[in-house]
């Protein structure tokens, strides 16, 4: 089959690789119809997430048609159209039982789980196409993909809904939704969202649906800010204003009740701390750039909520623990428990409450995926989301 293969930093190619096959009873093989490039794929593209190996197939946002199922998959049949959550979940461990699907104890492999246990104290769950820390699974930017524990993850899509309407159920829509949910929004709340990429934009939509009085979105790409505005947010361009001062002015000095860091470990910005972080990241003295994380904590009102959907992998220098403690902030974070949100979000899309297709700036064949990565990386103003179509 054809698949998008990582060869090194800023070097991804479409290669011929062998087709996947059923191994375990609870496996399914999917014929991929649509797959997207995620902002977090750019962290892989930029080689800032460790343990990626040359030859790995990327992609954790994908959907398609069931081609084959193992003997243990009773809920899917050949021909079903499904979306697949990006975290792999066994459905039977303590964490899956608590609906914390992205914390699954069994979906990383016994050998690779050691890496994250060493890094984080406990093992991470498996994730499709996202380095060997998360199991080394082949991703879905390919013609076919093996889906383990397929009786738990994939959700069947009703006829009449287009791929483009439901593809983002795999990651970015539930991720934006959970980011807003983690804000525990109360009546009258102001929510500030840093980063108007796909997750940030879905967080804007979600926070408004959850009853936020106002949402303030922060970025520096005009097109992304325009999209946030179109969704109902007030916007700040951090190149034009001092973010903290603007937020205090807009909220009468109180600060946003909840803040969302939808940027993560590769934050932009020209403040001195971020420049230092860039140098450290480039020289491996530190791993994660933390300018946004610092800013959200400093801006959040006393007793407010900090939601972190942005991806971090290692350590941030100068973490403002003093502000966190003295202002009594609550922090919620984590990879998204996608499975938990699928039925409700599918319903909201079906009823027209949530629009997903506004985000897509480029549709291209899988064969052109390397160009898609390049554009998403280098032209973030114009390129808000790339959807790849296989030739099936």
């Amino acid at each position: 089959m054809r698949a998008l293969v990582w060869h090194g930093k800023h070097d991804v190619r479409i290669d011929n690789v062998p087709d996947p096959e059923i191994i375990n009873p609870r496996d399914a093989i999917l014929k991929v119809t649509s797959t997207a490039i995620c902002g977090s794929d750019l962290h892989l593209y930029d080689a800032v997430i460790p343990t990626l190996q040359s030859g790995d197939i990327l992609g954790h946002e994908f959907m398609g048609e069931v081609l084959d199922v193992g003997s243990g998959v009773g809920n899917l049949k050949k021909g079903d159209r499904v979306v697949v959550p990006f975290p792999i979940s066994c459905g039977s461990c303590f964490f899956c039982g608590k609906q914390q699907f992205s914390l699954c104890d069994n979906s990383n492999t016994a050998e690779k789980a050691d890496m994250s246990e060493t890094l984080y104290g406990h093992q991470m769950a498996g994730i499709f196409g996202y380095s060997h820390l998360t199991g080394g699974y082949a991703g879905g930017q390919a013609e076919y993909v093996r889906v383990p524990y397929a009786d738990v993850g994939p959700m069947v899509i009703p006829d009449g809904m287009e791929d483009d309407q439901v593809l983002f159920l795999t990651d970015i829509l539930p991720t934006g939704w959970m980011a807003a949910e983690n804000c525990d929004i109360e009546e009258g709340d102001t929510v500030a969202v840093w980063g108007c990429g796909p997750v940030g934009l879905f967080a804007v939509q979600s926070a408004l649906l959850m009853g936020a009085h106002r949402v303030i979105a922060i970025d520096h790409y005009p097109r992304r800010l325009a999209l946030a505005k179109q969704l109902g947010a007030e916007v700040l361009d951090f190149r034009e204003v001092r973010v903290w001062e603007a937020l205090m002015d807009m909220t009468g000095g109180i600060g946003p009740d909840a803040v969302i860091d939808a940027v993560g470990l590769e934050s932009h910005g020209f403040r001195i701390d971020n420049i230092m972080d860039r140098v450290k990241q480039a020289t491996f003295l530190g791993t994660d750039r933390g300018a946004v994380l610092r800013e959200v904590i400093i801006a959040c009102r006393k007793g407010g909520r900090v939601s972190i959907p942005g991806v971090y992998g290692g350590f941030v220098d100068k973490f403002p623990i003093g502000a966190l403690m003295e202002k009594g902030l609550q922090v919620k974070s984590g990879q998204t428990h996608v499975h938990r949100y699928l039925p409700e979000l599918l319903r909201r899309i079906g009823e027209g409450e949530i629009d997903t297709t506004f985000l897509i700036s480029h549709r291209m064949p899988l064969e052109e995926a390397p160009e898609g990565y390049r554009m998403f990386k280098e032209e973030p103003n114009e390129c808000t989301k790339v959807v790849l179509k296989t030739g099936h």
Binding site: P18, C90, F94, T109, A110, D114
Partner: protein, 228 residues
Amino acid sequence: MRDDCADGSGGGKSRALKFILGIGALAAGGAAIAMSRKLSADRGDPNRTLFGDGPLAAARSGASGDYAESTLISRAVTINRSRQELYDFWRDFTNLPRFMEHVRSVTPLDGTRSRWVIEAPAGGTVEFVSAVTEDEPGRLIAWSSQEGADVRNSGRIEFIDAPPGRGTIVRATIAYDPPAGALGRAVATLFQREPKLQARSDLRRFKQLMETGEVTTSQPRPTEAAAA
């Protein structure tokens, strides 16, 4: 190789260390006699062993001189199944190769003794006879290699109720003497950490198998999975 990435090593070195690992975890091997006596003293009170000498002994093993000649491993894992179910599966030793990476087969000889065949470097195997030394249904199993084993080893697995609704805490304590001779000792010293690594992954596979019914793999095809 199941996984090049997990231990970051390759080639002959890796094979040598996996041999050591295998012996450590599989045989769940033996702090030798002194250790098994010490462990036996904890019998009878599951809570005592949970917070008692076992884990502390393991935590100390890096620095302690007591077991300098042996390797001692202890690790606990919580499995979302009942004590009895887990005990029953483990007590049927023919199941062990399903989750112990380097155990090729375990053949019962009688009610307490079994013959273990372990994978060795370069496609060879090592065999020894192991006997059950303690057996409390639903609670614990301990075993020890018999006279004449090239690698003296012993192991003990305990099944302790986790808080209500949370399954069972399974603690494996494994001890073994490095292969005899200067070479064996040198290799064992070199890869001192590795038996722990193997024990960890064997226990993870046990948990996967018990909770999900299968051993998780990220391989794309059965051929790679079999070769792994």
